[in-house]
């Protein structure tokens, strides 16, 4: 069966510090991968998605970047965090093709102070 891991679970970082959140998927190959951010009490905003190694599509211009160095690894980064980067970050994967659900990781709660 497939599993998705995210770490860390919580993170408190000062403004201006770098960020690296990691997401890995087990039990499948060549998945589509997604990064979302969720503000408190709000819906999910798609940040990045990837259909393959090194292929990253950005949905919203911002202070963040993403990379996919391996088939089942997706990394969210920032060189300098802003207060507005605080939120709940979720990674998800799905099989390629239409009509499939997404499977979400447990999320990372990021607080920028």
């Amino acid at each position: 069966s497939q599993t998705i891991h995210q770490w860390p679970a919580t993170l408190v970082q000062p403004v201006g510090s770098p960020l690296s959140l990691e997401c890995t998927v087990e039990g499948t190959s060549n998945p589509n991968l997604y990064w979302y951010r969720q503000a408190a009490g709000r819906g999910l905003q798609l940040l990045f998605y990837s259909v393959g190694i090194g292929q990253i599509s950005s949905e919203v211009p911002q202070n963040l970047s993403a990379s996919r160095p391996q088939d089942r690894q997706f990394i969210l980064s920032s060189k300098k965090l802003l207060l507005s980067d605080s939120g709940f970050y979720l990674c998800a994967w799905r099989f390629k093709g239409g009509g499939y659900e997404q499977y979400f990781g447990p999320g990372t709660r990021l607080t920028v102070t």
Binding site: G43, L46, E59, F88, G97, E101
Partner: protein, 113 residues
């Protein structure tokens, strides 16, 4: 921007009652999906309804889809305290790469004993 809008934003019912949540969207879709999120956790897929389907059942869940009105509803019958969570609709559009989902703003359901 969020394509889906859920209604109501919050719903409080007694255990045993039925809960109905509605979702409206703006563009043509491949399918519509409902997800559940417990506080501080990742999302869990509940049910997927394709654009050529009008109604679908899964256990205590019943989903309807009206593509002419661009709306969907999720009915949870005989609710339990454990159903307390936020519920999100998500649409997969016909065009666009990466099989992206656009999430609504969510309905917070509270089921009281």
């Amino acid at each position: 921007s969020q394509q889906g809008e859920e209604d109501p934003q919050a719903l409080s019912i007694q255990e045993g009652e039925n809960a109905t949540m509605n979702c409206s969207y703006k563009t043509s879709i491949n399918n519509l999906q409902w997800y559940r999120q417990n506080s501080g956790r990742g999302l869990v897929h509940l049910i997927l309804i394709r654009s050529n389907e009008r109604e679908k059942h899964s256990g205590r869940l019943r989903v309807t889809l009206d593509t002419s009105k661009k709306s969907s509803s999720l009915l949870i019958t005989a609710s339990r305290a454990a159903d307390t969570a936020s519920y999100f609709c998500a649409t997969e559009r016909i065009t666009g790469g990466g099989n992206k989902l656009t999430f609504g703003t969510g309905t917070q359901l509270k089921v009281e004993l």
